[in-house]
């Protein structure tokens, strides 16, 4: 479970987060929806303890990230934007490295890496250096890294960017499977279809604030629109920053 309460964060002169509060429950997929520059990445980085909030707090499984960062981070898997690959390592080496960093023993990490490579159908690229990978192959590697240690909470920053149809479907199935297993999945996106298709709970963000939240269904009803996209536009008051 990820809980964010009254987060405030100023970066330079921009108020990136402005009293942001929301909750992502276990066994649910929560979507953080907002136009470009709404503060989605800043919010996720704060949850990871990479940025320090000016006020407010973020809790992971009821552990305050600012107070006990080590324990809080053990419950997390991160799929960052940008991916942060090591170009000279192969996906197998890369994933195993992060598995060990997350506290797994070497043997355990090796078998967990093989499992996740198989699950994401990465057998053909597993032992090639990441240099020259396509965007989709990079995304898959980063995703494998995020879930290899089976964290209770998984945070994904724009996970579908650059994925082809097949990979998007794999990702979708994977997120649904994680949900089935009772994980808490939080992802940020600005792609409506994806959010509508996957999320149990949507948090709509604009200018660092929560504008509305609820299930996609509820948001449509609230704004009396037919699609999530129209509801979204009605909620944030413009179509600025909306990408296809």
């Amino acid at each position: 479970m990820i809980e964010v309460t009254d987060l405030e964060k100023k970066i330079g002169s921009v108020q990136a987060l402005d009293k942001l509060s929301f909750r992502a429950d276990d066994g649910k997929i929560t979507g953080l929806l907002g136009p470009n520059g709404a503060g989605k990445t800043t919010c996720l980085r704060t949850v990871f303890g990479l940025l320090q909030a000016d006020s407010g707090f973020a809790k992971i499984d009821n552990i305050d990230v600012a107070v006990e960062p080590m324990r809080a981070k053990q419950q997390l898997g991160l799929f960052p934007d940008p991916c942060g690959l090591y170009e000279r390592l192969t996906p197998r080496e890369y994933i195993q490295f992060f598995a060990e960093l997350s506290g797994m023993e070497k043997q355990q990490a090796i078998s967990a890496t093989s499992n996740v490579l198989e699950k994401l159908q990465m057998g053909d690229i597993a032992d090639r250096k990441s240099q020259g990978f396509s965007q989709g192959q990079r995304m898959k590697t980063a995703l494998a890294q995020a879930i290899v240690h089976q964290p209770t909470n998984i945070i994904l920053d724009e996970p579908t960017r650059g994925l082809d149809v097949m990979s998007t479907r794999i990702l979708r199935d994977l997120l649904l499977m994680l949900k089935e297993q009772g994980h808490c999945v939080l992802f940020s996106s600005h792609v409506m279809q994806e959010v509508a298709a996957l999320c149990d709970h949507v948090v709509v963000m604009a200018s660092g604030k929560v504008v509305a939240e609820g299930s996609p269904q509820a948001l449509c009803e609230q704004t009396q629109k037919e699609t999530l996209e129209e509801a979204f536009i009605a909620l944030i008051g413009s179509d600025e920053g909306l990408a296809a």
């Binding site: 981070k73 053990q74 942060g84 090591y86 390592l89 992060f98 890294q145």
Partner: protein, 378 residues
């Protein structure tokens, strides 16, 4: 704690070893520097051991054949216009006559004594003439039945206390500096790549979002960089051993002979320096906001060992400098090569000092990694 550092260290080593070109670029120094030094020393030694022939203009040389041949014995001779230096020795018209009659024969040196480049040659000519003068005067005294030693009221004798080895101070300074620099230079690319580069590739933020402390990350990076520095050091020592073996030291009467003991000694005292230089390089690269900026700063770092070494080589404030990290180790290396007693106290204290600097730089870097400004280059 230690286990995570090991995991990180292994990854750093693997990552670096895959980047063959930049690793090799660093190690080229270790192979190239001793060879260049060897050539340089050979040329320098040749110049030092045989002074150049001095060509001047001698006017009316026919009048003084014995003086001219005496000067030729000191490699001073009449040269053609163009190659001769702007020094003219004029032998007086009456030279021959004065000489045969036992009078004082006049020779005149015409030269610009304010010209620094000439002054040494002028002195050389003057010294040669003075020697000729006293030889001829001695002969005249003997022919008149007087002991020439009567003209020597004081008998000046200089005992040169310089042992052959201590003459080589400058050579030793340069040779040992080139060895110490290897510790800084060999892993410079790696240091930038693993810190500023890691941030630019966005993997630093990902690393920090895992349950590990920034100190662990910095320690692993420093250890990996120091490992490559040590490879550079061992390489430079081995290449130096063979390269310096080929320099014709006997021309000057001393030799730089790097034996196995010296190589082991350098490797041992090199470990703290490698850790210190690695932590300094990481610190400096994290301070920079970009890869390019880091490259400029890291180049400045090289001035630290060069400056300290200059002070050791040219004996500036040696009493104090010999206790300072790097300078002390270099001083000890020079003493070991000379075969003098090892300044144990200095080596131990400065090695601890070096390790303390390593601890400080590591702490500063890991503190920087806690700042979001540094991590995201804001």
């Amino acid at each position: 704690m230690i286990k995570l550092v090991q995991v990180l260290y292994k990854k750093e080593m693997l990552d670096a070893s895959r980047d063959k070109r930049s690793v090799m670029a660093g190690l080229y120094y270790a192979i190239g520097a001793p060879i260049v030094m060897c050539l340089l020393f050979t040329i320098l030694l040749k110049q030092l051991s045989s002074p150049e022939a001095l060509e001047i203009t001698v006017e009316n040389s026919d009048a003084a054949p014995s003086l001219v041949s005496y000067l030729e014995g000191f490699d001073i001779s009449h040269g053609k216009e163009g190659s001769a230096k702007a020094i003219t020795l004029i032998i007086d018209e009456d030279y021959e006559q004065d000489m045969s009659q036992g009078r004082s024969a006049r020779v005149t040196i015409v030269a610009d004594k304010s010209d620094n480049k000439l002054i040494k040659s002028v002195r050389r000519l003057e010294a040669a003439l003075a020697r000729y003068n006293s030889e001829v005067a001695g002969l005249r005294l003997i022919s008149r039945g007087i002991d020439p030693s009567i003209m020597r009221a004081i008998n000046v004798q200089t005992h040169d206390q310089a042992t052959p080895d201590s003459k080589g101070g400058m050579f030793l300074g340069i040779a040992t500096l080139s060895i110490i620099i290897a510790l800084f230079y060999s892993a410079m690319n790696l240091a930038i790549d693993t810190s500023a580069g890691e941030r630019e590739r966005n993997s630093l933020a990902l690393l920090l979002s895992h349950p590990l402390s920034s100190t662990q990350i910095v320690l692993a990076k420093v250890a990996a960089i120091a490992s490559y520095s040590m490879i550079g050091l061992v390489l430079v020592l081995i290449v130096s051993k063979f390269a310096y073996g080929m320099v014709p030291w006997e021309q000057l009467g001393f030799s730089i002979n790097l034996d196995v003991m010296f190589i082991l000694f350098c490797t041992l005292i090199g470990i703290p320096i490698a850790l210190m230089s690695a932590s300094l390089l990481v610190f400096v690269s994290f301070m920079a906001k970009s890869f390019k900026e880091a490259q400029s700063y890291v180049a400045f770092v090289l001035f630290v060992p060069i400056g300290l070494s200059m002070m050791t080589t040219y004996d500036i404030a040696t009493d104090y400098v010999q206790w300072i990290p790097i300078a002390a180790q270099q001083y000890a290396m020079i003493e070991v090569i000379k075969g003098n007693e090892l300044p144990l106290m200095q080596v131990i204290l400065s090695s601890f000092g070096t390790l303390a600097l390593f601890a400080i730089f590591t702490m500063l870097s890991s503190r920087m990694l806690k700042s979001e400004k540094v991590v995201f280059g804001l």
